[in-house]
């Protein structure tokens, strides 16, 4: 009897090579190698599971964090400080948070960031020589996380985008398959449990490090019936220099904004972002960081070198010279919507399928709004840890009951649109055509930032038509197995369906709350203080989450 025991004989899963590519069996498969995926892999390995991590790009450089710098929602475990940290976010969230989760995330983040310090992460120190653990330098953080993942004997598959999940007869997830794009072959992983850590969806709008984030995991999970939550909170826009990818809105708190006519009154990186967006619809807007006091400019520079990198290279002094700005859609990367989680260990509504980081809904700690990276970073760390641990436990119980995942029955591929057309192939329909059409519906501020019933329903009509055509007729040609063209097709339909979910629940929420702004319903409606669910592919459905938020407002009532 091959009774491998979790916890003592774990080795790096070995790849089996055949004419198609590689295959491997493992307890836990993590899809996505950003911070959430890395923490999930580390946590699953800690729990004694064998782990494979597959990333579309390269674990260590991929995703929104590696090329950026992030604050971390790190608060010392003192009751008053914690209470302040929680209170300060409740109103911003639109009262949709769950205080129990906020406490859990603060605890877990404190613990894991301490672990990072133990691993030697070079935190800065204050004047008393104490480490300041409230921010992480993206490249340094993710380079170190890759090392920890490798040290945990996780098998890392780089440049290995997942194309679809695999399921057994009961509908439980049993692994995934994809391509190895640098080798031109395929991979298949049989797994006892799967963690989706593929990030949010930024619709390839050109934000720093975000073009790889196309919502692939949401699509794959939905094909197994997973549900989503908070998808109306998906219209975060960041300010960036028009020529550059660097989206660091935080610095613009020191900016004055201008048009060709002079100062743009009321514009600001915080409350006045809509004014900038409206102005940009018709003419250029410029910024200059002239409100930064002279004595902090050096500190600003060393706080995030990559903010200044494009300016230095373009020979612009942002403190003294005006530069044209734009707003880049960050979708659900900064928006809070994502896969609905139904348990403390971040399980989705599909057995064996877990979600972590931006791919999972962040409403529990952010409600309908987040600003910079700090809550998002804390969520990636803690949800990743829980999802990895939960997946390891699930795989363990399944292994005991089945002697290994899926050994008894063939695995069924679950992918639909973009990989298996269900009607006649429409050769003129390509990934590029779909991507461009989706971008036209979601990127313009007058559609997505300033929402209305009319705009949303018009967009939805076009997006639903496009979905029907894609589902029926989009299928890149290939000989024996999928190629990069299949990946592009899957990315395009992932973005397409992301947009449909966003706008379907956006119509349902007839009020303005968090980042969701309705120009036809500009006020917050106390009767709509609930979370909203969405799901489905051919037919998109919406519903109110029966579970109420758990905020101070609830508790007082």
């Amino acid at each position: 009897m091959p009774t491998q025991t979790l916890g003592n004989s774990r080795t790096r899963p070995e790849l089996i090579h055949d004419s198609e590519g590689v295959s491997v069996g493992t307890d836990v498969l993590v899809i996505g190698g950003g911070p959430a995926g890395c923490w999930a892999a580390v946590a699953a390995a800690e729990a004694g599971a064998s782990v494979v991590l597959a990333d579309k790009g390269y674990c260590g450089t991929t995703g929104a964090t590696a090329s950026a710098g992030v604050g971390v929602w790190y608060v010392e475990p003192e009751a008053e400080a914690r209470e302040r940290a929680i209170q300060s976010r409740e109103q911003l969230s639109g009262w949709l948070v769950d205080r129990r989760w906020m406490h859990r995330v603060l605890d877990k983040t404190h613990e894991r960031v301490g672990q990072l310090a133990d691993w030697g992460y070079p935190f800065p120190t204050n004047d008393d020589g104490q480490q300041v653990r409230k921010s992480l330098d993206g490249p340094e953080y993710m380079r170190r996380m890759r090392k920890q993942v490798a040290r945990a004997r996780v098998r890392i598959l780089d440049h290995s985008p997942a194309l679809e999940l695999l399921r057994d007869g009961s509908g439980a997830v049993c692994g995934a398959s994809g391509i190895r794009r640098q080798r031109g072959d395929a991979w298949t992983v049989r797994a006892g449990a799967v963690v989706i850590a593929t990030g949010g969806c930024a619709f390839q709008s050109g934000g720093l490090g975000c073009n790889v984030l196309t919502g692939d995991g949401h699509l794959m999970a939905a094909e197994l019936g997973a549900e989503l939550s908070g998808m109306e909170f998906s219209n975060a826009y960041a300010i960036s220099p028009a020529f550059s990818s660097v989206t660091k809105t935080a610095f613009y708190r020191y900016a004055t904004f201008y048009t060709d006519d002079g100062v743009l009154e009321g514009a600001g990186a915080q409350r006045g972002r809509s004014i900038i967006a409206r102005e940009l619809l018709s003419r250029p807007v410029y910024a200059r960081l002239d409100r930064a006091p002279a004595d902090i400019r050096t500190d600003l520079r060393s706080s995030q070198p990559n903010f200044f990198l494009p300016f230095d290279r373009a020979r612009i002094d942002p403190f003294t010279e005006k530069f044209a700005v734009t707003m880049r859609l960050e979708g659900t990367v900064r928006g809070t919507g994502g896969l609905r989680i139904t348990s403390h260990n971040c399980e989705t509504t599909v057995p064996g399928l877990y979600a972590a980081g931006d791919a999972a809904t962040r409403e529990l700690i952010c409600g309908g709004f987040t600003g910079g990276g700090s809550h998002n970073a804390a969520w990636a760390i803690s949800s990743g840890s829980w999802a990895g641990g939960g997946a390891a436990e699930f795989a363990k119980s399944r292994r005991l009951s089945e002697h290994g995942p899926g050994r008894r029955e063939p695995l069924q591929p679950a992918g639909g649109a973009g990989i298996r057309a269900c009607g006649p192939i429409e050769r003129s329909l390509s990934a590029e055509v779909i991507t461009r059409a989706v971008q036209q519906e979601v990127i313009p501020c007058d559609r997505n930032l300033f929402r209305s019933e009319l705009g949303l329903s018009e967009s939805l009509g076009r997006l639903d038509d496009l979905w029907r055509r894609a589902r029926s007729g989009l299928q890149p040609e290939h000989e024996r197995q999928p190629t990069v063209a299949t990946l592009r097709a899957r990315e395009s339909v992932a973005m397409l369906t992301h947009a449909r979910w966003m706008y379907a629940v956006g119509r349902l929420r007839t009020e303005t709350r968090g980042m969701h702004k309705r120009i036809d319903h500009p006020e917050l409606d106390p009767a709509q203080q609930h979370r909203q669910l969405v799901g489905g592919l051919d037919r998109v459905w919406t519903a109110l989450d029966p579970e109420r938020p758990h905020s101070a407002l609830e508790l007082a009532a």
Partner: protein, 125 residues
């Protein structure tokens, strides 16, 4: 976008080919990396950060620059100290061995409230 691979500096270690999250590079003649899919470059500067010999240059522009742009002129970039400048900031260069993370002052960004706009960065409108 990535604009330059310095043949002089490149040691053919393949790091850029491995780490680019959008798979922009490919082996060219003599195993030298070439910019094969520039349109896929997302201007994330990761290849430049990971290159051990400061052989790469990512222009700050999100689109390709003109053929005669200084961003493609290795001598100009070296003269201005731009080749390898990001790696020095990160502390990943021998010339700047103190980790950039150690020198980070990002936490100071969260300090004083500003005259307008509220204390919390990027609050809802």
């Amino acid at each position: 976008m990535i604009e330059l691979v310095s043949e002089d500096r490149c040691i053919k270690c393949d790091v850029c080919i491995r780490v680019c999250p959008t798979n922009v590079f490919e082996h060219g003649t003599d195993r030298l990396p070439v910019i094969k899919r520039q349109a896929d470059c997302q201007t994330c500067f990761m290849c430049e950060a990971w290159c051990p010999t400061d052989a790469l240059f990512v222009s700050p522009e999100t689109g390709p620059v003109a053929q005669d742009s200084p961003y493609r002129d290795e001598a100009w970039l070296i003269e201005r100290g731009l080749l390898g400048s990001y790696r020095r900031e990160l502390g990943w260069s021998e010339q700047q061995p103190l980790a950039g993370a150690r020198r980070s002052t990002q936490h100071l960004m969260n300090r004083e409230p500003l005259p307008i706009g509220g204390a919390i960065m990027g609050g809802p409108e």
